[in-house]
């Protein structure tokens, strides 16, 4: 029963995806057909309708629309430029400085907005033309931007961990946020090494003008309000003032004041479009979550996760082998699927295997989010990859060659994160969150 169910599910799902059926409808259809095969149509209709609603009825998920709205306000809020200036201040003199700055900008901006696409657009949109002016290879610039745009999905705050928290049955969001920090920075750092080496080889050095103390102060001063958002959210959660959901609401109010009142980069008449866009983006994510919960029901009912767990533990009881298998599967999944559905579908399957091997759910959460973040920049399907290419006005083929050394660096980071639990668990441990 499990095997037949698995085959029907997987084949139908990928067939529908390939034919451009929206991801959420592909999930519902394949789940529904599987239910009907084993039970009755009435059962399938009832369960699908029920799970579509109850799957999104979650205290934790309330933070999703708020973080999306805050991200919208920030992306339109003139914040990217201020963060880039700050990064240039410190990194302006190193070889490949503009590329390294792009990476630091992605890390800071991604940290605030939590969206790889937003970072790729906002930071890459400014940096790629600058790099072209300074004689950088365009493909290299685009690759740098693409390779590091997703780090904000690991550096908190980030919706990916909120979704994982829901999928894993209530792992602490605060602990996950802290756990993502070091792996995110490691990803960015190893990519900086690549950019540095490339810059050195090709002689990309700027003879920067001498900085005056007042210019330095002004740049730092300008960036403080933007960076303060992270302090409010993370500090608010850590100090015990806010729950993560409340912190996300505070983020909206703060970003609104910053963008509309302080920077005046958004006008009130643009607000409606911004709100509607937020609603649409929220809807798309939530529908996928609802659809995935129909699918998890089917899988649980047919005993699929248990069967896969048993199968994997049957192959080997070697922790290293199993974790490598999980990584490979997730990387392949990530090349086809988006973050949210992949998290919701694969967490219940792999988490029991991982905990069986003595892995902490926090550590596993970081590992799965990192894998799927990598998926957003790998062909054939990668949102951040596509957006990064279009920002640079290049084809995927032009960027691929330059992405390779970055992929190598990111894979090294992934191996470290997988096999050195301390990278994920040390910080939340020190802060007493686990």
């Amino acid at each position: 029963m499990e095997l037949q169910a698995a085959l029907v599910l997987v084949i139908l799902f990928f067939l529908l995806l390939a034919l451009s059926v929206p991801v959420s409808y592909s999930i519902i259809t394949s789940a529904l057909v599987t239910i009907i095969m084993f039970l009755t149509p009435g059962f399938g209709m009832f369960i699908s309708a029920q799970k579509l609603v109850s799957g999104i009825d979650s205290f934790t998920l309330l933070a999703v629309p708020f973080f999306i709205l805050a991200g919208q306000l920030m992306s339109n809020g003139g914040i990217a430029r201020r963060l880039i200036n700050l990064a240039l201040l410190f990194l302006g003199k190193v070889p490949g400085s503009l590329a390294v700055t792009n990476i630091a900008g992605n890390a800071m901006f991604g940290s605030i907005s939590g969206s790889g696409i937003a970072a790729a657009t906002a930071i890459g949109g400014v940096m790629n033309p600058l790099e072209k002016e300074s004689g950088y290879d365009e493909g290299f610039s685009a690759a740098t931007n693409i390779a590091t745009a997703p780090v904000g999905q690991l550096i908190p705050p980030t919706t990916a961990f909120i979704v994982y928290s829901a999928a894993s049955g209530g792992t602490s969001v605060a602990a996950l946020f802290m756990a993502g920090w070091i792996p995110g920075v490691l990803w960015a750092f190893l990519c900086m090494v690549v950019a540095f080496a490339y810059g050195k080889k090709h002689g990309y050095v700027i003879e920067g003008e001498k900085l005056t103390a007042s210019a330095v102060l002004k740049t730092v001063w300008d960036s403080i309000p933007s960076l303060f958002l992270v302090v409010i959210i993370i500090g608010g959660i850590l100090s015990g003032w806010f729950t993560p959901t409340e912190a996300s609401g505070i983020a909206v109010i703060y970003a609104f004041i910053l963008a509309v009142v302080v920077y005046k980069s958004i006008q009130m008449k643009d607000m409606k479009k911004l709100l509607v866009d937020t609603a649409v983006m929220t809807t798309i994510v939530m529908l996928i979550i609802g659809a995935s919960s129909v699918l998890s029901f089917v899988m649980s009912f047919t005993g699929l996760p248990q069967a896969i767990s048993d199968l994997m533990l049957g192959i080997s009881d070697n922790k290293i082998v199993i974790l490598l298998i999980i990584n490979v599967v997730l990387l392949i999944v990530g090349t086809f699927m988006d973050m949210a559905p992949a998290l919701l579908i694969f967490t219940p399957i792999f988490l029991p295997v991982a905990t069986n091997l003595g892995m902490d759910p926090i550590h596993f959460g970081v590992m799965i989010v990192m894998n799927l973040s990598i998926g957003t920049i790998t062909p054939p399907v990668g949102n951040v990859l596509f957006v990064g290419c279009s920002v640079a006005k290049l084809q995927v083929e032009d960027v691929m060659k330059h992405l390779m050394p970055y992929f190598a660096a990111i894979l090294v980071a992934l191996l470290f994160v997988t096999f050195v639990p301390g990278l994920s668990t040390w910080l939340p441990g020190v802060l007493g969150l686990m």
């Binding site: 034919l19 009435g42 709100l275 809807t283």
Partner: protein, 155 residues
Amino acid sequence: MKAINKILETVLALMVILMVLGCFWQIFTRFILGNPSKYTEEFLRYVLIWLTMLGVPFAYGRDEHISIQFITRTFQMKNLLVTKIAIEVLVLALSVFVMIAGGWMVTMNAAGQISPAMQIPMQFYYACVPISGLLMAAYSIERFIKFSKEIKEVK
């Protein structure tokens, strides 16, 4: 459909504002009044559910749901349109059987059930599904007609 679009757009924007205000109210009652509201959390969850269910057809009308194009992009125009029409048929079927009929089943099954905090009938909680299904069906039929016309022109 234009009128429906306009209405949905306004309703969705208002619901996002409502959520922000609700979250603010929760923080306010807890910090300033020292007496957390018992209803906000449930209220926010239910608004998010309705927001999602009304947003689904609206986003569909704007063709914003995530799909994968790299295979169908290589199709010839006529085959591409045939695929698109087939997708509309599938979406219409899902709207009718899952959202309208299934949604009606869960709504009826919830008769007599009340929500734990606000004490409102749970039929309200599920009613967004059949409503969403009706709107989805409308958008899907509109697109079906549009693609059918286009396919005639290709011939």
